[in-house]
């Protein structure tokens, strides 16, 4: 009798709970508070709104809804690791840490847990070597590509010759800010320009010394590797010393609208790299407005749509969604695991036709990922701020980076990591 009761209870429980509902879990390690919130908010809004669009319009991906789990990091490495630990158990498919510091902490964890990281245009540059970094991807381009794209652009501006020119790098005095130094030094040897390095301490509110030095030394070009308040102050200081804005180029984390607007008209002509194109008229934005914002499901207040960092966040979500779709097709399973997600990321191929189909024609360069190459095409564009119209204007098409310089650096750094971490080579 007792057994009968237990069996009945178990049956009732099973009926009540029903089958487990399949879902694709995507953590969003965002930062909506603190000193870097102005950059974190639009990226996160774009990232979340795209998945919300897929849920509302298509019922998810391959019929499985996406559940975005947002966790506030405050751009703080410790909090970022906490977010990872607290969300990985929910079946997280891929992490977008949105911080180089957090990325460095998560790489060994992701390798152990078997969960992919997508560090889009940031993080550990040598993770582009898929033979060493099985679980880390940094397509479509990395920091070293960015440095090389900037130099290639300047070469183009100077008829292919930079010899005798003076370049100054104003950089955030952190692991992130120091990333391009080696590449720029190698490129200096190759192209004969003179490189001077000017470090700015966190947060970068006070940069008078650096800009007085620039005023004294009169470099031909200034390249900036900044983030947060450092960008706004640098642009204002450059304007104060009358440095020609068209000779001032920021990396892609120094080229959002909020970086230039505080300086007003003085920021006119400032240039920045971008790993993707911005075009507020892309059909995908209309779809987001219709299916997500008008339905009251926007991640933010809806004011960021089409901005530089909103577009980048949405592009990151688009790349993740495409990898999920490919993983589903590859494995014949809709409810995929993190390992299948990794396979999908490794088989990702973004073509112009596919981007147009997704409502985002030309949003990124065409690229494909492979077992060996987790870094994508390594291309970037140069855009320029038009202060009168209050918008960024693309000056170039996608520019190639110098693989002959970057690839050996990636090989060297990734092999050092492999030796240190005891990683076995793959893709044989």
């Amino acid at each position: 009798m007792k057994m009968m009761k237990l069996a009945a209870l178990a049956l009732a429980g099973a009926v009540a709970s029903g089958p487990a509902v399949a879902e694709l879990v995507i953590p969003d390690l965002s930062y909506r508070t603190g000193p870097y919130a102005a950059g974190g908010i639009p990226f996160s809004d774009g990232y979340q709104d795209y998945f919300a669009l897929l849920n509302a319009r298509d019922g998810g991906i391959g019929g499985v809804p996406v559940r975005v789990v947002e966790c506030e990091t405050g751009y703080n490495t410790e909090k970022g690791v906490e977010c990872y630990e607290s969300t990985k158990g929910e079946g997280a498919l891929v992490y977008q840490p949105l911080s180089t510091g957090i990325t460095y902490q998560l790489i060994p964890k992701a390798m152990t847990d078997g969960i992919p990281l997508h560090t889009m245009g940031y993080g550990r540059t040598s993770a582009a070597n898929g033979k060493v970094f099985e679980w880390v991807f940094n397509y479509p381009a990395n920091y070293w590509n960015a440095a090389s794209v900037a130099v290639n652009y300047l070469l183009d501006e100077n008829g292919g010759d930079l010899s005798g020119k003076k370049l100054a790098l104003v950089y955030h005095n952190s692991a992130y800010g120091k990333e391009p130094i080696r590449t720029l030094e190698e490129l200096a040897k190759k192209h004969g320009y003179e490189l001077s390095l000017l470090a700015v301490d966190h947060p970068g509110q006070e940069q008078k010394s650096q800009w007085l030095q620039i005023r004294r030394e009169r470099p031909d070009y200034v390249i900036m590797w900044g983030w947060g308040v450092m960008n706004q102050v640098a642009i204002q200081e450059a304007a104060n010393i009358n440095f020609p804005m068209e000779n001032f180029i920021g990396t892609w984390w120094s080229g959002a609208e909020h970086d230039v607007t505080p300086a007003g008209m003085a920021a006119n002509g400032y240039k920045a790299l971008n790993m993707n194109r911005i075009n507020p008229d892309m059909p995908v934005f209309d779809e987001i407005r219709t299916h997500v914002h008008e339905a009251g499901n926007a991640a933010g207040d809806g004011s960021n749509v089409g901005s530089v960092l909103y577009t980048r966040g949405m592009y990151a979500a688009m790349l993740a969604a495409e990898a999920i779709r490919i993983a589903q097709e590859k494995h014949g399973v809709a409810d995929i695991t993190p390992a299948m997600m990794r396979d999908g990321m490794e088989a990702l191929a973004m073509t112009d036709a596919r981007m147009a189909e997704l409502g985002a024609p030309g949003i990124g360069p065409e690229f494909s990922v492979s077992c060996e190459n987790h870094g994508g095409s390594g291309m970037g564009i140069v855009q320029q701020w038009n202060a009168a119209d209050g918008k960024w204007v693309a000056l170039t098409d996608y520019i190639m980076s110098d693989a002959s310089v970057i690839d050996p650096l990636i090989e060297e750094d990734s092999m050092a990591f492999a030796a240190e971490a005891g990683v076995e080579m793959r893709c044989n």
């Binding site: 909506r32 508070t33 603190g34 000193p35 870097y36 919130a37 102005a38 908010i41 005095n173 390095l197 000017l198 470090a199 700015v200 301490d201 966190h202 947060p203 509110q205 006070e206 008078k208 010394s209 650096q210 007085l212 030095q213 005023r215 004294r216 947060g228 308040v229 706004q232 102050v233 204002q236 304007a239 104060n240 010393i241 009358n242 909020h258 607007t261 505080p262 007003g264 003085a266 009251g296 207040d301």
Partner: protein
């Protein structure tokens, strides 16, 4: 004159100007510490909050709009009007006075007689609370602050000093905003000194600073004085927020300017208004000259740590700071 020396002078001049900006932040700390013995950790956040409120009022932004929209499903953001800068500054000052009253009424009135460390902890809590309220009230986006202050190089100074050097000397660079900040700081200090020396409230404030118990015994209201002092510190925070916000836009990293004030306080003393100014100038000139002379040899970015080293050196020889009151404890 050799160009290097001229550029050294330029760096020193700019260090003096930067020092004035550091001193503006340090002043708020000194006012509160002097009157109540509280080291106000939230002074930097007060500067941020004041600047956010100023921009919000100027732009006619609806406070707590995100919260209101989230609860009621509305889409309100702005009232549709703009407020002139001077009126907005006056209104923000009133907000800071109300804030001072709230701080006194709901926090420090309940902590009278507590250990200084408890009061310090309370200000840490206040800092994070205020940062959160600022975020909720005005949003996290970077705001452009334009109260009509001039910015950029003074061409007049540049052109009229270029003759001092050769072809590779371009004249002294002085930012017009820094000159304005120096004038404002001078007026502020003069005003504070006149207020504390020649007004009834000022004398009461000094009496409280000297001895709480004695001040109470002659009928001075401790609550009123604390509200007054926090209001003054709020106004100083507003001035600092305007000067720093004009350089970088008003954003949450503005609260970190407090880090620049700490070495100034260590050097100038926690209880001296002239100490804050002189400390600021020494730190400003010291860190800029060190960066100019030694920075290139050690990879640069020396200013943050060198300011603290400089303050520590002073601390070893004068623990009370240059102008602080000498600590004498009789047993």
């Amino acid at each position: 004159m050799p160009t290097e020396i001229l550029y050294g002078v330029e760096v020193a001049l700019n260090g003096l100007m930067a020092g004035v900006l550091y001193a503006l932040v340090a002043l708020g700390f000194v006012l509160i510490f002097k009157a109540s013995g509280i080291f106000n950790y939230s002074q930097g956040v007060m500067a941020l909050f004041a600047a956010l409120t100023l921009v919000g009022i100027m732009e006619g932004q609806v406070p707590f709009a995100h919260l209101i929209n989230a609860i009621f499903g509305t889409k309100i953001h702005h009232f549709g009007w703009e407020v002139p800068a001077l009126l907005a500054i006056a209104l923000t000052t009133i907000v800071m006075v109300v804030f001072a009253w709230l701080v006194q009424r709901f926090i420090f009135r309940h902590l009278v007689g507590q250990e200084p460390i408890i009061l310090f902890m309370a200000t840490i809590g206040l800092a994070y609370f205020l940062e959160g309220v600022g975020d909720l009230m005005w949003g996290s986006d970077i705001k452009t602050l334009d109260v009509g202050l001039p910015q950029g190089a003074s061409f007049w100074i540049e052109e009229n000093t270029a003759f001092l050097g050769g072809e590779d000397f371009y004249g002294f660079f002085i930012d017009k905003l820094d000159v304005v900040a120096a004038v404002v700081a001078a007026v502020l200090v003069a005003g504070l000194v006149i207020f504390s020396q020649y007004t009834k409230q000022g004398r009461a404030m000094r009496a409280v600073a000297d001895d709480h118990q004695a001040a109470l015994s002659v009928g001075i209201s401790l609550s009123f004085i604390w509200v007054l002092v926090w209001s003054l510190a709020g106004f100083v925070a507003l001035v600092a927020g305007i000067m720093w916000g004009a350089k970088s836009g008003v954003q949450f990293s503005l609260s970190l300017i407090a880090l620049k004030a700490l070495p100034v306080l260590m050097l100038g003393g926690f209880t001296s208004i002239p100490g804050a100014i002189v400390g600021g100038l020494i730190i400003g000139v010291g860190e800029k000259l060190f960066e100019f002379l030694i920075g290139p040899m050690v990879g640069g970015a020396t200013e943050n740590w060198f300011a603290y080293v400089l303050a520590l050196i002073f601390l070893v020889f004068r623990p009370q700071g240059l102008f602080g009151e000498k600590i004498i404890e009789r047993v």
